[in-house]
């Protein structure tokens, strides 16, 4: 048993990676789904075991192939990435039962196995980025996850999916390239690829080569910003989310951007922050305006969007703005808000996109104007949408509120009360776009598309309800979300120079 425990970090990535390869050989969709579900279900177990270990003991350092860092690749699990690992794996697992019907509905039979293969590959990539302690290794996983994502998006029914995927591919590649340039610069000045190791060497290097160190940060920052869809580098996201298969959208929305944010946190706080006073770096300077722009512009875009998936995609951009705003605040409450919102938003958006997927499944459209009365024909699904939407708005008693509350307190602690107002004001826009959907769904006469719709089968419904419940529940019991997040923030800030 101990032997297994010791190998957990490797298993976390290896299992889905190998699973993906096997999935590619399974011809039948259902079988592939079952396989993928099984593999996915293993990942949170591992993640939880690791989190438990990190919570009670200390950071796990796993030497890939037995090579000691910094020469070998180190898998390094601390509270931050244990938390993100658990989030990514858990949300994916919850979503898996949903996948079968939805994927079968949207993707032709022979391609389904391929889809699951890509999905597992993507999952492995995301988990890999999160778990690895090596900058270049992270790049590799970034590419793995990105490539599989392009494929998944391209498998969408809509022809525009191809364009969206293609555009994402170009942008994603640019981002990855910028990232790798940044890593290269860091390697040049520090001679190391290991995050922790770079961190210890960076202070010295920075004194010697201040410009390249800063340039490295710039490349890393912009590269990661592309992946996490920081405004105005978000434009690939709405289309990618809108035209990808429903399940893929939900999966990506809940996990991909979160992992990118994790990477940003890692670079800023664990690499640069431990070496250089963060206040001298332009991170906050850049993040404040962009975050606020994201919160407002993207939210307003969501208001005028008639395609519900695109609407939620814009909403994601706005929510990412909150998360980056919390990073910009760089204090305990703000950072806690950031991390906890990363968690909460994954649950909320997962629930919302799954609900939309169910609507696609039953009513065949997500054009808001065609969905009159959907709330009455698909009561449970839409009720889930409403409750998750309330969480998105940050209604107190829901998970979304906890994030906003920490962000506001963070802003007030930093003495930036106008920002506190901006946070609450922008969350009001969420009320508008969610409210708009609610109006159509409940108070319009039943339109033709939803007329024959009904709640989806249990396999699909349960994940929706579980995630919705979670997005409410974590507004009341926050030990797992805010409790961990607050310790994460403590650790991140505690390591700062």
């Amino acid at each position: 048993m101990n032997a297994v425990t010791a190998q957990l970090p490797a298993l976390q990535v290896v299992i889905p990676l190998l699973g993906a390869i096997i999935a590619a050989f399974l011809r039948r969709g259902t079988l592939a789904w079952a396989w993928a579900a099984l593999i996915t279900a293993l990942t949170p177990v591992i993640a939880f075991a690791q989190l438990h270990q990190v919570w009670t003991n200390d950071t796990i350092s796993y030497r890939m192939g037995g090579w000691p860092p910094p020469i070998g690749i180190e898998y390094r699990v601390d509270l931050l990435n244990a938390f993100v690992l658990l989030l990514v794996s858990l949300v994916s697992t919850i979503m898996m039962p949903y996948a079968r019907r939805s994927v079968a509905h949207e993707i032709d039979g022979d391609k389904q196995a391929w889809f699951y293969c890509m999905y597992l590959l993507g999952l492995a990539g995301l988990l890999g980025i999160t778990i690895t302690g090596d900058a270049f290794n992270a790049f590799v996983f970034l590419e793995i996850s990105s490539l599989s994502t392009y494929v998944m998006i391209a498998m969408g029914r809509d022809r525009r999916a191809l364009v969206a995927s293609y555009q994402y591919l170009i942008i994603g590649t640019i981002g990855a390239t910028l990232y790798v340039i940044g890593v290269g610069l860091l390697y040049l000045v520090t001679g190391s690829l290991n995050f922790a190791d770079i961190g210890t060497r960076l202070a010295e290097a920075s004194a010697a080569y201040p410009r390249p160190v800063l340039a490295g940060l710039a490349f890393l920052f912009v590269g990661i910003s592309l992946k996490l869809a920081l405004f105005p580098l978000h434009v690939w996201l709405p289309n990618a989310y809108a035209y990808a298969p429903s399940f893929a959208t939900a999966f990506l929305a809940a996990t991909a951007t979160k992992v990118a944010i994790y990477l940003l946190l890692r670079i800023v706080f664990s690499v640069y922050g431990v070496a250089i006073d963060l206040n001298t770096l332009p991170v906050s300077t850049v993040l404040y305006p962009l975050s606020i722009a994201a919160m407002f512009i993207a939210s307003i875009l969501a208001v005028y969007e008639t395609n519900l998936k695109r609407m939620l995609a814009y909403s994601s951009v706005a929510q990412i703005g909150y998360i980056t705003l919390g990073i910009a605040l760089m204090n305990q409450a703000g950072l806690t808000g950031s991390v906890v919102h990363l968690f909460n938003h994954a649950l909320i958006k997962g629930a919302l996109f799954l609900a939309l997927g169910a609507i696609v499944y039953r009513a065949g459209t997500i054009k808001l104007d065609d969905l009159g009365g959907i709330g009455r024909t698909m009561p449970l699904t839409f009720a889930a949408f409403v409750f998750a939407g309330m969480s998105l708005m940050g209604v107190p008693g829901t998970a979304g509120f906890i994030s906003k509350y920490y962000l506001i307190v963070g802003a007030l602690d930093a003495g930036l009360w106008p920002i506190a107002f901006l946070i609450v004001a922008s969350s009001l826009i969420a009320l508008v776009y969610i409210g708009r959907a609610v109006e159509v769904a409940y108070f319009r006469p039943i339109a033709s598309a939803p007329a024959n719709a009904k709640d989806p089968p249990l396999m699909m419904l349960v994940p929706i309800l579980v995630l919705t419940f979670a997005s409410i529940y974590f507004g009341i019991d926050t030990e797992l979300s805010a409790g961990v997040a607050s310790r994460v923030a403590e650790t991140l800030l505690g390591g700062l120079k």
């Binding site: 309330m390 708005m393 940050g394 209604v395 107190p396 008693g397 906890i402 906003k404 509350y405 920490y406 506001i408 307190v409 007030l412 602690d413 009360w417 506190a420 107002f421 609450v424 004001a425 969350s427 009001l428 009320l431 508008v432 409210g435 109006e439 409940y442 108070f443 319009r444 507004g475 009341i476 019991d477 926050t478 805010a482 409790g483 607050s486």
Partner: protein, 495 residues
């Protein structure tokens, strides 16, 4: 009946409406059973809340449930006198309104009655949560639940007007609470390190008078349910809702939740003495006074009965705010008394408006000529409610005004006195014509108004009449026997 521990009664009060809300949809296709569930729930809640009263009067502060959501933010409940009073009003009037609603919803063949009753029960649940909240955070949660659960009731008719009203309702109520109230709560937390309602307040010596002033402004305008101008217009808009909603929620539960919160914030967060000493509450007298007068002036112009009542509500709510802003213990007692007094009287008026709508399908005051002869009980009750609105004895409206005047005169504040004097006249000016029209004007001859309008009718259905006679009697009864609210209000200010 006293066998129950007060703590379990608190929990019961907080779960009964929710259980009701979950049970009601099960009887979707059996209206009689469904309404029985509503009545049973309301009855059980009323019983529970009244059972709590002796404990609270005896000085107990039963607490229940304490969940730390995040450090410092607890969902916790504790019954203090003002909350007790509010819960008593809301629960009792819910029972009455349920009787009324049965008559109204059936009499008017309203659609979607199941969801109507469900939302009603949830709204009452939220009201109980507000009443018994131990701290600002808990109160805030239930405040928002109340908004969200009443939104479907406002938009109930699902026509253009109702949807528009629903939008305004949500935007104003959620908007103010998010943009102003939430920062106010966060700020309070940053300043005081606690959000618990504490006798004497928690902000004494914590910050400058100017900051207190700003914080009070955030609270006063953030609590949009209190309908302080210029954030009042959701209330008239919400009148498109079915009358039981207007009656219980927009004359009692929702709006009273607003002024209740303001009163609680002034008494238990700021502390009357802290505010009075810092002089940070003066502006609120102006704001509330302006609302009292301006809303009355607008009410004068309304021909639609419910719109006039709505503006009257706006005006009367600011009475409570005004009373709180006078910042004396005795005027705070007045504020609490006025919450109770206005509740029973305004619900009577709305009941009457709904009875007229049900029996005669009339909504405009100008159409009411002579209706008092056809519906003597309804219009008699209306007259009693109107007298209470003007604030004359022997009706409940006298009580709140009395203590407000006492507080204002005691501290030599002339503006509140002048406001009350002027608004008394204005109240009379817009209520008396209705009573006159109903009782003394001649009903237009049938041929003059067309066959359709000359609709032969008598009183509204029996449940409606029973409900409104009850509340009208309560309006006088509260004047004659004000001991319970008065004792609770005195306990609130610690006297």
């Amino acid at each position: 009946m006293l066998a129950f521990a007060p703590e379990s009664l608190v929990i019961a009060a907080l779960t009964i409406p929710l259980i009701g809300a979950l049970l009601i949809p099960l009887f979707h296709s059996a209206p009689n059973a469904r309404e029985s569930v509503t009545l049973a729930t309301a009855g059980a809640l009323t019983f529970t809340v009244w059972s709590l009263l002796p404990h609270v009067l005896a000085g107990a502060r039963p607490a229940a449930i304490d969940i730390a959501v995040v450090p410092g933010l607890n969902i916790a409940f504790s019954v203090e006198p003002l909350g007790m009073l509010f819960a008593l009003i809301a629960a009792t009037l819910w029972l009455v309104t349920s009787v009324y609603a049965i008559g109204y919803m059936r009499g008017n063949d309203e659609p979607r009655q199941t969801s109507f009753y469900v939302c009603f029960a949830v709204a009452l649940w939220a009201t109980m949560g507000i009443a018994f909240a131990k701290n600002l955070f808990t109160l805030f949660i239930f405040y928002e639940i109340l908004t969200l659960s009443t939104y479907p009731l406002v938009a109930h008719k699902a026509n253009g007007e109702a949807i528009r009203a629903g939008r305004i309702y949500l935007l104003i109520l959620i908007g103010t609470s998010m943009v102003l109230l939430l920062p106010a709560i966060a700020w309070t937390w940053v300043l005081a390190g606690t959000l618990d309602f504490t006798s004497g307040g928690i902000l004494n010596g914590k910050t400058t008078p100017f900051a207190l002033c700003a914080l009070l402004a955030l609270f006063a305008f953030g609590i949009g349910k209190a309908a302080l101008m210029p954030l009042h217009f959701w209330l008239p808009a919400a009148m498109v809702a079915p009358t039981p909603v207007s009656a219980l929620l927009h004359a009692v539960a929702v709006v009273k939740a607003g002024v209740f919160t303001i009163l609680k914030v002034v008494v238990y967060i700021f502390g009357i003495e802290t505010l009075a000493y810092a002089g940070s509450g003066t502006w609120l007298v102006y704001a509330a006074g302006f609302t009292v007068i301006a809303a009355s002036l607008v009410a004068l112009r309304q021909d639609n009965l419910k719109a006039r009542l709505a503006y009257s509500t706006v005006s009367q709510l600011s009475y409570v705010i005004l009373a709180a802003a006078i910042l004396t213990p005795i005027s705070a007692v007045g504020a609490a008394m006025h919450i109770a007094a206005h509740a029973v009287s305004k619900i009577t008026l709305f009941f009457a408006a709904g009875a007229i709508y049900t029996a005669a399908h009339k909504t405009e005051i100008s159409e009411l000529a002579g209706i008092g002869r056809r519906m003597p009980c309804t219009m008699g009750a209306f007259a009693i409610g109107a007298i209470s609105m003007i604030g004359l004895p022997p009706t409940a409206g006298f009580l709140g005004k009395w203590f407000m005047l006492s507080g204002a005169m005691q501290t030599g504040q002339w503006l509140p006195v002048a406001i009350i004097v002027v608004s008394t006249l204005l109240n009379a000016a817009y209520f008396l014509p209705i009573v006159y029209t109903a009782f003394f004007e001649r009903e237009p001859a049938a041929h003059a108004v067309g066959a359709e309008a000359a609709h032969e009718h008598g009183e509204a259905p029996l449940p409606i009449v029973i409900a409104l006679i009850f509340t009208a009697a309560a309006t006088i009864g509260l004047f004659l026997f004000p001991e319970v609210p008065h004792a609770l209000a005195k306990l609130m200010v610690g006297g």
